[in-house]
């Protein structure tokens, strides 16, 4: 016959209250374990998220471009006289192809119809000189659809000054690399002249681009697609790069393969481009989990110890309960429930502690050149960590309570009653 849960709960509660100090110490063990787990996970994954943003969100899932490479076929292979022969062609040079993607506009229209594709953004990259007086700086201007870049690649995180909305098609405006501005002593709304080999174009600076990587900031600027095409002196269907963002990142590799075979373009998928980055994220997560689980196990041993002590102190109670008709299982249930009550209370306090400290971290100032838009530490307040922490608190206290409770179950009441 099972005993009523509320009844068990009442016995457990009175037992815990009678050893309030020890119960609190045991619960605090869980609190610190769970709290640290939550702080660690929130902070670590928050940081990982920012790093993901820094690298992965800026990287298209599939990048299409025309790569300079030698032709797969040499003319000799096509001539019937030389078929089934072994032909040697030495000193093969890459073909002199333009960086333009052929039929870029229809290709983009086709990609936009694809259900897996979230966004298709065209780019035209012009190699330019930035001019200020007699000084010339090498660099490039990326012509982009600024609204799409902001929406899908978080470009606004890297615009440190100015407003991207001023970068309208048809106006001579530019978001200048911060490093270039520094070298040329240029301020916001100054003019800069760029030269792409044929003509000089004067542009108004409406913002500064600061990626945190000085090599990029010293050379790269953004402008609208049309302006870039005008700088390069090319027609408005001249596109050098197509970036594709997918709903599911996992499909990137197969998509890249398919597009490479379907069109005469090169395609690089995100995993190929950032293989080592993924590994780093995985290992950081692994370390966070390992540390948290270690903490919880230590807390578990604390609970085990304290419950063991409880049971020695409560020998008489156990004997009475058994003598008055409680079975070993009832007694076991009572002590497991005590352990889990410690886990529940300690766990809830742990969640509060974890949330509190995470919140404090999230409002602490943190500035880094690598992420100009970041003012405070990144913290991830994912409720899954709170659920997981609570679940772990209950599971670990269950196991910590199980062994002492089994001991209580097997205590022979006769020995205790006679022992007096």
């Amino acid at each position: 016959m099972k005993i009523d849960f509320l009844f068990t709960l009442r016995i457990s509660r009175i037992h815990l209250m009678s050893r309030l100090k020890q119960s609190i110490v045991a619960a605090l063990g869980v609190t610190f374990g769970i709290g640290t787990y939550i702080i660690l996970m929130s902070f670590m994954t928050g940081l990982n998220g920012i790093l993901d943003d820094l690298i992965l969100n800026r990287t298209p899932h599939v990048h299409l471009f025309n790569e300079t490479k030698q032709s797969q076929y040499q003319p000799v292979a096509l001539h019937p006289d030389f078929q089934n022969k072994i032909n040697f062609v030495s000193s093969v040079k890459p073909s002199d192809a333009l960086p333009k993607i052929k039929n870029a506009i229809p290709m983009m229209q086709m990609l936009e119809q694809d259900d897996n594709v979230k966004a298709v953004t065209p780019q035209y990259t012009a190699k330019v000189f930035y001019l200020a007086g007699s000084t010339q700086l090498n660099g490039m201007v990326r012509g982009v659809d600024i609204e799409k870049e902001i929406k899908h690649y978080n470009l606004n995180n890297y615009i440190s000054q100015g407003d991207y909305k001023d970068l309208k098609p048809g106006t001579n405006t530019i978001i200048l690399g911060k490093g270039i501005a520094k070298k040329l002593s240029l301020e916001l709304y100054d003019k800069i002249t760029v030269n792409a080999g044929n003509n000089n174009i004067s542009l108004k600076i409406v913002g500064f681009y600061e990626s945190g990587m000085s090599d990029i900031d010293n050379t790269q600027s953004y402008t609208s697609l049309e302006t870039a095409q005008r700088i390069g002196g090319v027609t408005n269907n001249y596109i050098t790069d197509i970036n594709i963002k997918l709903y599911n990142k996992e499909l990137a590799a197969s998509m890249a393969n398919r597009l490479e075979n379907q069109f005469s373009v090169s395609a690089v998928d995100i995993d190929e481009a950032n293989a080592q980055f993924d590994t780093g994220t995985g290992i950081r997560n692994l370390i966070s989990y390992a540390v948290s689980i270690t903490l919880l196990i230590v807390a578990g041993f604390g609970i085990y110890n304290i419950l063991n002590m409880f049971i020695y102190e409560k020998m008489d109670d156990i004997a009475i309960l058994k003598a008055t008709g409680f079975s070993g299982k009832d007694v076991q249930r009572i002590f497991i429930l005590q352990a889990m009550l410690i886990g529940l209370i300690g766990g809830i306090l742990g969640l509060i502690l974890g949330y509190g400290v995470s919140f404090l971290i999230s409002i602490s100032p943190f500035e880094t050149d690598a992420m100009p838009n970041l003012k405070t530490f990144p913290v991830n307040f994912n409720p899954m960590y709170y659920l997981g922490g609570m679940a772990f608190a209950l599971i670990s206290t269950f196991f910590a309570g199980y062994l002492p409770a089994r001991k209580a179950k097997n205590i022979d009441p006769v020995e205790i009653i006679r022992g007096k």
């Binding site: 008055t324 079975s327 006769v414």
Partner: protein
């Protein structure tokens, strides 16, 4: 027949082999008030713990309320103990952090046949019967020895058992309180026709019961019917 044993033998194997009970055959009728006497170490407590179903390591057969209970599972035995047997120990054995009424209610809540409110009313009634209803909401460890023993009698009565077993229930009390406890037992025996089996050292106490079972060296020496009603 409330309680009957057939050829019960008990051996202790540790620390040395010891034949603690030898061919015990006793029976207790409904409404009988029996005391068990004997020197220390004669096996009377050992016998009591076997009869109370707490000790299951014996040879022979034990019948409770005409039902063979030898070889039942621990779960079943716990239920039988809960329902049929009320236990009173020498050292009161209350749960010290629980209130008096909680202590009394525990076995009934375990039995789970009545609602908590009904059990509370029953418990208060038992406490009143024993004259300690005023202490109901006190913590058990705040009571005097005599009061504690009454609480444990009230607890033994809560499930209206068939038999009360006592292991020297007056052994730790002064003569006045011991007298009181005896009067309570006698009253219960007479008014409710309750069977009692009390192990005792107290000659005066034993002589007032219906029958004395005398034990020596693990054997029953005599079943002297004294005051059979």
């Amino acid at each position: 027949m409330i309680l009957e044993t057939k050829n019960i033998n008990k051996y202790f194997r540790k620390p040395v082999n010891f034949h603690a009970l030898k061919d015990i055959n006793i029976s207790i009728d409904k409404g009988e008030f029996v005391s068990v006497m004997g020197k220390s170490g004669c096996g009377k407590s050992t016998l009591l713990y076997i009869l109370s179903t707490m000790d299951t390591d014996y040879d022979g057969e034990l019948f409770l309320d005409n039902e063979l209970i030898t070889n039942k599972t621990n779960e079943d035995l716990a239920r039988l103990r809960n329902e049929l047997i009320g236990f009173v120990f020498q050292f009161h054995y209350l749960l010290p952090e629980f209130t008096v009424i909680d202590n009394v209610m525990l076995p009934a809540e375990k039995l789970g046949k009545k609602s908590k409110e009904e059990i509370r009313i029953d418990g208060m009634e038992k406490l009143r019967l024993l004259g300690i209803e005023g202490q109901a909401d006190k913590k058990a460890n705040l009571l005097s020895g005599g009061q504690k023993q009454r609480v444990s009698i009230a607890r033994a009565l809560i499930n209206s058992p068939k038999i009360i077993m006592g292991d020297e229930p007056t052994g730790n009390l002064d003569s006045k309180n011991a007298e009181n406890v005896f009067e309570i037992f006698k009253e219960l025996n007479e008014s409710q026709d309750l069977s009692l089996l009390i192990v005792t050292h107290d000659q005066d106490f034993a002589e007032k019961t219906h029958r004395i079972i005398t034990m020596e060296d693990g054997r029953i020496l005599s079943h002297n019917g004294l005051n059979k009603k």
